[in-house]
């Protein structure tokens, strides 16, 4: 843990205590019930992306004292109410203020639980990352190829189970709605095969699309633009990925080491 995070933890606890102390007594006595009620709301609405106990899945883990986009309760309320446009987080429509408070209370309570431990060793995981040649397609801190997603902050954005799945079976876990383009929850890095009316064929990933056009990057990382009126067929290969699967190519220990390495990638700390 970096010194900066160590410094932040006590500060957050102090703020929470102050906030709790300032509440009227009646509300303080309800707070355990509020958290319990908030947990129910969370499991219904949030757990699919953030994991059952906030341990992270497709969405980031929430069981940490500071949340990237929610420094305080008001910011957290705003994130829940408004969502994060273009980042896959939908707005939660029309919750009552009471329900919103309960949800915030529960999410904040997660910050006081321990992180899910990844049993792996991140240094060994880094060596595996290098050995497998992941950098030919992925950038970390400015270094690597740009065909696949930038992984510089992937550990902050994804939970360990999602990260594990992402290299064991990438086709089953293509990212959705994490980037501003194409946005709105569309599948990103979707493999497509475009056949033009004059017989040309391009295989690559969809970058963007509308009813009249589609933009593609081919496997050589070259950009292509098509008008659909000039295209005979756009085959969208849902359930496939241009990233190879590493299932069966890593031991269980190596798998956990790579998860630990990816989890440690949290951008500038």
């Amino acid at each position: 843990m970096s010194p900066i995070r160590l410094a932040l933890v006590p500060f957050t606890f102090v703020s929470l205590l102050i906030a709790t102390d300032m509440r009227p007594a009646a509300q303080t006595s309800q707070s355990a019930a509020d958290i319990e009620q908030g947990k129910k709301l969370f499991q219904g609405m949030c757990a699919r992306c953030h994991g059952l106990d906030g341990t992270g899945e497709e969405g980031p883990n929430l069981n940490r004292p500071t949340l990237t986009r929610a420094a305080d309760d008001d910011a957290l309320r705003a994130v829940i109410r408004d969502g994060i446009p273009d980042r896959g987080m939908p707005r939660v429509r029309r919750m009552t203020d009471g329900e919103l408070d309960q949800l915030v209370a529960y999410v904040r309570s997660l910050g006081r639980t321990t992180l899910v431990a990844t049993s792996g060793n991140s240094d060994r995981g880094g060596a595996i990352y290098a050995r497998l040649g992941c950098a030919s397609c992925h950038i970390i801190k400015g270094q690597g190829g740009s065909f696949g997603p930038d992984l510089t902050e992937i550990g902050a954005a994804r939970g360990p189970s999602y990260l594990r799945q992402s290299f064991l079976g990438p086709a089953e876990m293509l990212p959705r709605g994490t980037a501003p383009i194409p946005g709105r929850g569309f599948t990103e890095y979707l493999p497509v095969r475009v056949t033009t009316t004059d017989g040309r064929e391009v295989v690559g990933v969809r970058i963007n699309e509308d009813p009249f056009t589609i933009q593609v990057r081919d496997t050589g990382n070259r950009f292509h633009s098509f008008r659909k009126s000039n295209v005979k067929d756009v085959e969208k290969q849902f359930g496939k990925s241009l990233m190879p699967s590493f299932r069966g190519r890593l031991t269980d220990a190596e798998t956990e080491d790579l998860v630990a390495y990816l989890s440690s990638l949290r951008g500038a700390q």
């Binding site: 009552t96 979707l190 699309e209 969208k236």
Partner: protein
């Protein structure tokens, strides 16, 4: 010379007084150069008889001018065009008059909206104005109905429709009739008791108010448990239609309150999620038809009621059709409200069809729950406020359909004036699992004639024209023209932001134009 001068004065007098008298709006089909009421005519066809732009030449369509709104926000305006002037609204409740030949503003008026204005249930938008005589009418998000001088934008009168502190607000264009300005309110998500009002255009005096929720003791009150009618919702938040011969106003009503938890309001909850036909003179309800009894999915029935006449089973009938938010397309007799037919026009999982009277056979177990229940159509419906179009040439009803499901959640019921009264919510399925289509339905039956697929569930209205075209937009920012007979795409242009508005057509100096809002701009297109 003297005679010529006299004629000039007479003409200019004629245009400066009663510029848009009621008969001019009632006869708008015969004068397609202007666009005089929200949906183009009282029958709400959103059809323009203009045919200069047609199947043969639409491929050459080019931008004529572009106006950028002065404030950011969602621009959902449907312009009105009168004698060379276009009246639009900008979010949240600004009215601007533009020169249709150049796009240059002539005047703009912005109400003083309090910073603590309560807008629960929609973004702070406005969908357009009404014109009558020499005035422009607008409903505001702080609950006022305002009459502006059409020439200058000066306020003629300004009345409070109802208390915004309790959640009443307006986004819809008013409907101007003979001596009546009709306006409905938004606010069911704040637990209001909905109504439709008529005002005297000259003075702003309220002529009648008809509640969409009966009070205790009134007919229909038995469909509400306890005193739940008091917060029963039933907003009338979109513009209705009018049949001058029958003197009936047709208006859709919204969801019951609270939206997603029906426990405290056992019964059908009349007249929510209904179409009501009211006498324009006194506001008395002549008939009603409820599409979704005891709604718990927020499937308002405020969608545009489209009036047309046709022969069904050998009998000439006056009809009203609606592509309802609940995914069924309905055809009713508009004299009596008799149900004639309904058929799904988008995916739905909530009803095993309808009985002979049009009441849905609701599947059990699909009410919202704590864990969420997946139901089609989605929380915002298979249709919503964007307008359909009916072409008297093709006899087709054009609808941009939203193919999407939602996980519906149930929450606690807690009423506090001016706060959200919804008791739940939803998480809509999005991305590649949600899509849409422009669908052409045979108007008398709802039978699908053709469809043009869209990548995302649309928020576009449609316009059909005498040139055999259907205009619409996409969430990805395309504006397009389809062949009205076949759905074949004939022209499209990327506007750079999502289209969440209704298209219109008009003509000036003998040339036809088409207008649509997208992003923060209003675009006008014509042939070079």
């Amino acid at each position: 010379m003297r005679r010529a001068l006299f004629l000039f004065i007479a003409l200019s007098t004629a245009t400066s007084f009663a510029q848009v008298p009621y008969p001019r709006i009632a006869g708008s089909e015969g004068a397609p150069s202007d666009w005089l009421t929200y949906s183009g005519n009282y029958q709400s066809h959103r059809f323009s008889a203009l045919n200069e732009i047609n199947r043969q030449n639409v491929g050459r369509l080019k931008p004529f001018w572009i106006y950028q709104v002065r404030r950011t926000g969602i621009v959902e305006t449907s312009p009105i065009v009168v004698d060379g002037v276009m009246y639009i609204t900008e979010p949240p409740s600004t009215v601007t008059a533009l020169d249709v030949r150049t796009g240059r503003p002539l005047w703009t008026w912005t109400p003083a909206i309090p910073t603590d204005v309560i807008i629960i249930g929609s973004p702070p938008v406005n969908r357009g104005v009404a014109v009558l005589d020499e005035m422009v009418f607008v409903g505001t998000v702080h609950g006022h109905l305002v009459a502006l001088d059409a020439k200058s934008g000066a306020v003629r009168w300004d009345v409070v429709v109802d208390d915004n502190k309790r959640g009443y607000y307006m986004t819809a264009a008013p409907l101007a009739l003979d001596g009546r300005i009709i306006i409905g309110v938004s606010g069911a998500e704040a637990g209001i008791r909905g109504f439709l009002d008529a005002y005297d255009p000259k003075s702003g005096r309220r002529v009648w108010r008809t509640h969409t929720i009966p009070a205790a003791g009134e007919p229909g009150a038995e469909t509400w448990g306890g005193d739940s009618w008091q917060t029963g919702g039933g907003s009338a938040w979109l513009t209705g239609s009018y049949d001058p011969a029958l003197n009936l106003v047709y208006w859709g009503t919204g969801n019951p309150g609270p939206d997603w938890n029906g426990d405290a309001r056992p019964g059908d909850n009349l007249y929510t999620c209904s179409l009501i036909a009211l006498n324009a003179t006194d506001g008395k309800i002549k008939w009603h038809f409820q599409f979704t009894p005891h709604d718990t999915h927020d499937w308002d029935s405020n969608e545009i009621p489209v009036l047309f006449d046709a022969t069904i089973n050998g009998r000439a009938r006056k009809l009203v059709a609606m592509a309802n938010r609940n995914a069924f397309y309905y055809v009713l007799d508009r004299e009596t409200g008799e149900f004639l037919t309904a058929t799904p026009y988008a995916k739905q999982t909530w009803a095993d069809g309808l009985d002979a009277k049009g009441r849905p056979r609701v599947r059990p177990g699909l009410d919202p729950s704590t864990d969420g229940v997946l139901v089609f159509p989605n929380i915002q419906g298979a249709s919503n406020w964007p307008s359909p179009s009916y072409s008297p040439q093709t006899k087709l009803f054009y609808q941009a359909a939203r193919e999407m499901g939602t996980h519906f959640y149930k929450g606690e019921i807690k009423y506090k004036p001016g706060e959200a009264f919804v008791a739940g919510g939803g998480r809509a399925i999005n991305g590649d699992d949600a899509w849409g289509a422009v669908r052409a339905l045979e108007a008398t039956t709802g039978k699908l004639k053709w469809e043009f697929k869209l990548l995302s569930p649309p928020w576009t209205g449609l316009l059909s024209t005498g040139g055999g075209l259907v205009f619409g937009g996409t969430e990805e920012g395309n504006f397009f023209a389809l062949d009205a007979d076949t759905g074949t795409p004939l022209w499209d242009l990327q506007l750079g932001a999502a289209v969440k508005a209704n298209p219109i057509a008009f003509a000036v100096d003998g040339r036809q134009y088409v207008a649509i809002a997208a992003g923060y701009s209003l675009f006008v297109f014509g042939l070079p």
